[in-house]
């Protein structure tokens, strides 16, 4: 990253502790508790502990916009893309375990995520490009990165497209600045909107965050916030306790596929620009070009996901049905035990006792049959819970650093007013709503597993 190690360490000291302070505040019962009475407080914002993400973002925005000298002082450690990519790599393990436990649901989410982004890519990009070119009279050099930045995946898409069409570096940089500002605005507004209107369709809410919120950091972050907010709402409004992480998985799946697809789209654009628009003799677009543009951090996610999935997939699905069977037998035992003292007939007593023994034996056998699987899954759970704590920490730092880097005044001074208008029109005119429609088409009725007991 070519960072100055000393400056990075000093900056990171503040970044880490200020982020952690926000996490600490986020867990204050008045903000976090989903059941205020149980927590012993008169009221609560019901944000869950993950409300700490929002506090980190807000503190970051305050520092970035009102304490600029301090923001500059810690500037070397403000690397949200690095933090979020690390978090994504770590998240692969968690998703791998979840997928093993609910393989059918996970494969549906993965496939539907892929469908959603193919749709979003094809429709969004063309519409934004048309509006930028036809209505706002942007040149091709500006319109293509702008279309990718607004419609697809923010910073990395704008940069990849800029490279594909050989735009000057300043073009994707300007677009990226704009993308970051709007991503922060989306991050603040959309999760609460989703909580209010989509809490009955949790996976739609998650996928919508992945499709609508640009930049990896903000999209993953909004997925995490939506996960927390919607779960809290479902629990308080309907008494449904959803397993955490599934909405985040929908958001991250769509976002990751978007990241992978950038390289393909960049290749298509590079080919069209090279062959049809700015045709230069002897210039070719190769497979190597796709690889060069491929976002490599996705591989970290894929590797951790596959490794954990391979370890736990043969074992995790066995456990739940057997445990359900054991629960059923246990209930039967309790009922027999209650019945036994009331029975006077010795023959009937003997029958019940025999049945009791048989059930106890059956439980032992069933427990024995999943002993090894349980052991492996519990070890995997221990491993993923360790990486998950780190993932949460990196998420938190990402929120904080995105906030600090969003200096609104500076970006406005750089003359992005016209670009901002295109962004505003496209984002609120159709990107959000088409994204919502696509998410609804592919994810409505899909529900995360419910925690029972």
């Amino acid at each position: 990253m070519r960072a100055n190690i000393v400056k990075f360490n000093i900056g990171f000291f503040f970044v880490f502790w200020l982020s952690y302070l926000c996490w600490f505040i986020g867990h204050y019962a008045y903000f976090a508790a989903t059941d205020a009475k149980k927590a012993g407080v008169p009221w609560s914002l019901k944000l869950t502990g993950e409300g700490g993400f929002i506090f980190a973002l807000l503190l970051g925005l305050i520092i970035g916009n009102f304490f600029r000298p301090f923001a500059k002082f810690i500037g070397e450690a403000l690397k949200p893309e690095f933090y979020i990519k690390t978090a994504i790599g770590l998240m692969g393990a968690l998703i791998g375990l979840k997928s093993a436990e609910a393989f059918g649901l996970a494969s549906a989410v993965l496939f539907r995520g892929l469908c959603a982004i193919v749709e979003a890519y094809l429709i969004y990009w063309a519409l934004v490009y048309f509006i930028a070119r036809k209505w706002f009279k942007f040149s091709r050099e500006w319109a293509a990165p702008l279309a990718s930045g607004i419609s697809i995946c923010g910073v990395s898409a704008a940069i990849a497209t800029g490279g594909a069409i050989k735009a000057r570096p300043v073009v994707p940089i300007m677009v990226s600045s704009l993308v970051v500002i709007f991503a922060v605005i989306e991050l603040i507004i959309l999760p609460f909107f989703a909580q209010a209107f989509l809490w009955k369709e949790p996976m739609v809410a998650g996928a919508w965050m992945g499709l609508a919120v640009k930049t990896d950091g903000a999209a993953f972050a909004s997925g995490a916030v939506v996960d927390a907010l919607v779960r809290a709402k479902a629990e308080t409004a309907a008494g449904i306790k959803y397993e955490p992480g599934w909405m985040l998985m929908a958001a991250s799946t769509t976002k990751l596929f978007i990241d992978i697809f950038i390289s393909i789209w960049a290749f298509i654009l590079a080919y069209i620009w090279c062959a049809k628009i700015e045709c230069k003799p002897g210039e070719k677009v190769s497979g190597r070009e796709i690889w060069r543009r491929f976002p490599k951090f996705v591989m970290a996610y894929a590797i951790t996901f596959i490794v954990i999935l391979l370890i736990s997939a043969p074992h995790a699905p066995k456990i739940k049905p057997v445990e359900a069977q054991i629960d059923k037998i246990k209930k039967e035992i309790t009922s027999i035990e209650k019945q036994l003292p009331t029975v006077a007939d010795p023959v009937q007593q003997a029958t019940l006792t025999a049945k009791l023994d048989e059930n106890k034996k059956k439980i032992k056998e069933l427990q024995e049959s999943i002993k090894e699987s349980k052991n492996i899954v519990s070890q995997t759970q221990i491993a993923t819970s360790g990486t998950n704590s780190l993932r949460v920490l990196f998420f938190l730092i990402t929120f904080f650093t995105i906030g600090v880097m969003s200096d609104f005044r500076k970006l406005w001074e750089e003359g992005i007013g016209k670009l901002a208008i295109v962004y505003l029109i496209c984002l609120f005119g159709f990107i959000l709503w088409i994204g919502l429609l696509i998410s609804y088409i592919f994810f409505h009725g899909v529900k995360p597993p419910v925690i029972t007991g």
């Binding site: 059918g104 649901l105 494969s107 549906a108 989410v109 496939f111 539907r112 469908c115 193919v118 749709e119 890519y121 094809l122 429709i123 990009w125 063309a126 519409l127 490009y129 048309f130 070119r133 036809k134 009279k137 942007f138 040149s139 091709r140 500006w142 300043v170 940089i173 300007m174 069209i272 049809k276 628009i277 001074e413 750089e414 003359g415 016209k418 670009l419 088409i441 592919f442 409505h444 009725g445 899909v446 529900k447």
Partner: protein
């Protein structure tokens, strides 16, 4: 970062020196949207048929 005035000026200048949409750009836009809408039906069918996930 490039000089702010230069970018402001460049963005303003673009309107006067508008590059009209080339036929290949129009084709890209139409094909992309058309393909997207057409593919929507195919993908919905595949996902509902082969990847069901308890639709309510």
């Amino acid at each position: 970062m490039a000089d702010a005035t230069t970018i402001k000026e460049e963005l303003e200048k673009m309107e006067a020196e508008y590059e009209p949409l080339l036929p290949v750009e129009k084709k890209l836009i139409i094909w992309s949207i058309g393909f997207g809408i057409g593919l929507l039906f195919v993908l919905v069918w595949i996902s509902y048929t082969f990847f069901p996930a308890s639709h309510g």
